[in-house]
């Protein structure tokens, strides 16, 4: 009798634990019909699988989920560094449309899905409360998965995009910038190989002298330039030597090139955190969106935050061929 009771209690406990992992996801607007249903089903299953894997300490089981290899690999790389769990069990969100420059819908996006980080060890440096965004292809299959940047920046950039009538392009840029940031966090050297143009120019500034005058401290900055492979070799070493890397992008500004409309200059404040080292700098990236499905980074510069507003690199500092 005792054994039966114990078995019954066990079944109840397991059932309750599984129910605790269950997530129901729904779109309130922005999409209708069969694709909506497919996206909702894929998202609910994926978020439930993430919670289940976190509860049981196992890997995420993607069976029955319509998800691209690239997206599951992206989650896997994140999972190897830090585990996380979806906060809400019932989620309703707007469906955002991602459009190509000709206005055609090339995918969809869900944002604002709250997750709480469950670090594996004390090497984790970063906020425990984060938000993720999920991208879908036009058929509703999950095509990408990223931790999002601050909502304030998103709002500001989209507002600016509405005024300049390039909101769709800004959404694409933001998505690529989010992927670029996540590639550092996930130590995804393959993404870096793909995203940097073969003839990319990488400029890094270093403060060599600070002169204190009566007026204000003046910093002297020296710059070194690297090619793509030289930069990536250094990055490989950094990835190898650090258990966890957290990169934050803030104060993002997007400027379109006046004469070359497919080139965009993105300026942002980058925070770099590892267990033994951290710094803050201004990163300027020139994106070439000639192929909007596979944009390339032509220039990436890093400057210490002590540089004058006026000396921060902009598109005007580079002659683009």
């Amino acid at each position: 009798m005792k054994k039966i009771l114990l078995a019954f209690v066990m079944v109840l406990v397991v059932g309750a634990m599984q129910a605790q992992d269950e997530v129901l996801f729904e779109f309130s607007d922005g999409i209708e019909g069969a694709v909506k249903q497919t996206m909702e089903q894929n998202t609910s299953r994926l978020l439930t699988a993430i919670n289940r894997a976190q509860s049981t300490g196992k890997d995420i089981n993607y069976s029955g989920i319509g998800i691209d290899d690239l997206a599951s690999q992206s989650i896997g790389m994140m999972w190897n560094n830090v585990r996380f769990r979806v906060v809400d069990d019932d989620i309703v969100e707007h469906c955002l449309r991602i459009r190509a420059s000709n206005g055609r819908v090339i995918g969809y996006q869900a944002r604002n899905i709250a997750v709480v980080m469950k670090p594996i060890d004390d090497s984790y440096i970063g906020d425990l409360n984060q938000e993720i965004c999920i991208n879908y292809d036009p058929s509703g299959r999950i095509s990408d998965f990223n931790i999002t940047m601050g909502l304030q920046q998103y709002v500001r950039l989209m507002k600016e995009g509405e005024r300049l009538n390039d909101a769709d392009r800004r959404m694409q840029i933001l998505h690529w910038v989010e992927q670029f940031r996540n590639a550092y966090v996930q130590k995804d050297i393959n993404f870096m190989e793909d995203v940097f143009s073969d003839d990319a120019l990488i400029v890094t500034g270093k403060v060599v002298k600070r002169q204190h005058t009566d007026m204000r401290p003046i910093a002297k900055v020296e710059y070194t330039t690297q090619g793509k492979q030289q930069y990536l070799n250094g990055l490989r070493r950094v990835f190898r030597n650090n258990a966890y890397i957290n990169v934050k992008f803030d104060d993002i500004q997007i400027v379109r090139h006046g004469a070359k409309p497919n080139y965009y200059g993105v300026t942002l404040k980058q925070g770099w955190f590892t267990k033994n080292y951290s710094d803050e700098g201004i990163v300027f990236i020139v994106w070439d969106f000639t192929d909007e499905f596979s944009p390339k980074i032509m220039v990436r510069t890093w400057q210490p935050t002590v540089v004058e507003d006026d000396d921060v690199f902009t598109l005007s500092n580079f002659k683009l061929q």
Partner: protein, 282 residues
């Protein structure tokens, strides 16, 4: 024995309190989802470290939602830059904690924004603004020397945004020194650039535009007052205490042109205000 009983009662009380908080959170969450599922509302939400930040961002998002909704309505498509009148009183909000973060959910009934009579220019009701940048107060013309030699005192932008009415009550906008309209002396491309800059609502977007104009070789230099090499030869953008752009003043020793109202004014009128300077390329 008695201590044990007190401990038990305290523990029970604490458990009940936690349970009540959890139930309240769940109820709010359910209410939010109910509104989201309803087709009668437009909504937006944000989760941030402070409730005020979350409210401000959610408000901005709601304004975007309303803009998109209006644009999608054919009968109103000719008025894309409109916003429901008195949005703050028409909208409602729900707040809850999410871990240590504050989640604010704002919603408005679609029926409250469908009457054309309800619409006014966005500029007349632009809602609360976040002061995003650390700013330096504008120097008076008399203080030019000091501005050029001092390191400049950076004022932390930690004050919470204040309602528009409060700003007006505490710090009335200065009036121009002369009421006559003046001719615009700038070449056309500079007039266009100033026009674009005047459309900025806050300092962050103003800086973004300056950066863009610099990339287009139109703006040569810009910065905070403590770094201005020549106060008289620079344009000055003036911001109010809420971080909103008030106007742009042209170059000049004492008399400058206020490009918002195209009347004469002076930098002294805005003494103590936050500001940015810039110069155009030749």
């Amino acid at each position: 024995m008695r201590t044990k009983s007190i401990k038990k009662v305290l523990l029970l009380g604490l458990s009940l309190l936690l349970a009540t908080v959890a139930v309240a959170q769940q109820t709010t969450s359910k209410e939010i989802n109910k509104i989201k599922r309803s087709t009668s509302y437009l909504y937006a939400e944000a989760t941030m470290e402070t409730e005020q930040d979350a409210y401000d961002v959610a408000y901005e998002l709601l304004v975007q939602q309303i803009d998109e909704y209006i644009a999608s309505k054919r009968k109103l498509s000719k008025a894309p830059n409109v916003l429901v009148k008195d949005l703050k009183s028409k909208s409602d909000s729900l707040t809850m904690m999410r871990g240590e973060m504050h989640r604010v959910f704002i919603y408005v009934k679609k029926s409250d924004i469908e009457g054309v009579d309800n619409f006014v220019n966005l500029a007349l009701d632009d809602g609360p603004q976040v002061v995003e940048d650390a700013v330096v107060e504008v120097p008076a013309e008399d203080d030019k020397e000091a501005a050029e030699t001092s390191s400049g005192e950076v004022k932390e932008a930690a004050e919470p945004p204040v309602a528009k009415e409060e700003v007006a009550a505490e710090a009335p906008m200065p009036t121009p020194v002369a009421a006559e309209k003046v001719q615009n002396p700038l070449p056309t491309w500079q007039q266009e650039a100033v026009g674009q800059l005047l459309e900025s609502t806050d300092m962050a977007s103003f800086r973004a535009k300056l950066n863009r104009l610099k990339a287009e070789y139109k703006v040569k230099r810009f910065g905070t007052p403590d770094k201005c090499p020549s106060v008289a030869n620079s344009f000055w953008a003036i911001f109010d205490t809420g971080g909103r752009l008030v106007t742009i003043l042209g170059p000049g020793e004492n008399i400058r042109i206020d490009y918002r109202v195209m009347q004469h004014s002076s930098l002294d009128v805005y003494k103590g205000r936050t500001a940015l300077w810039f110069t155009f390329a030749k």
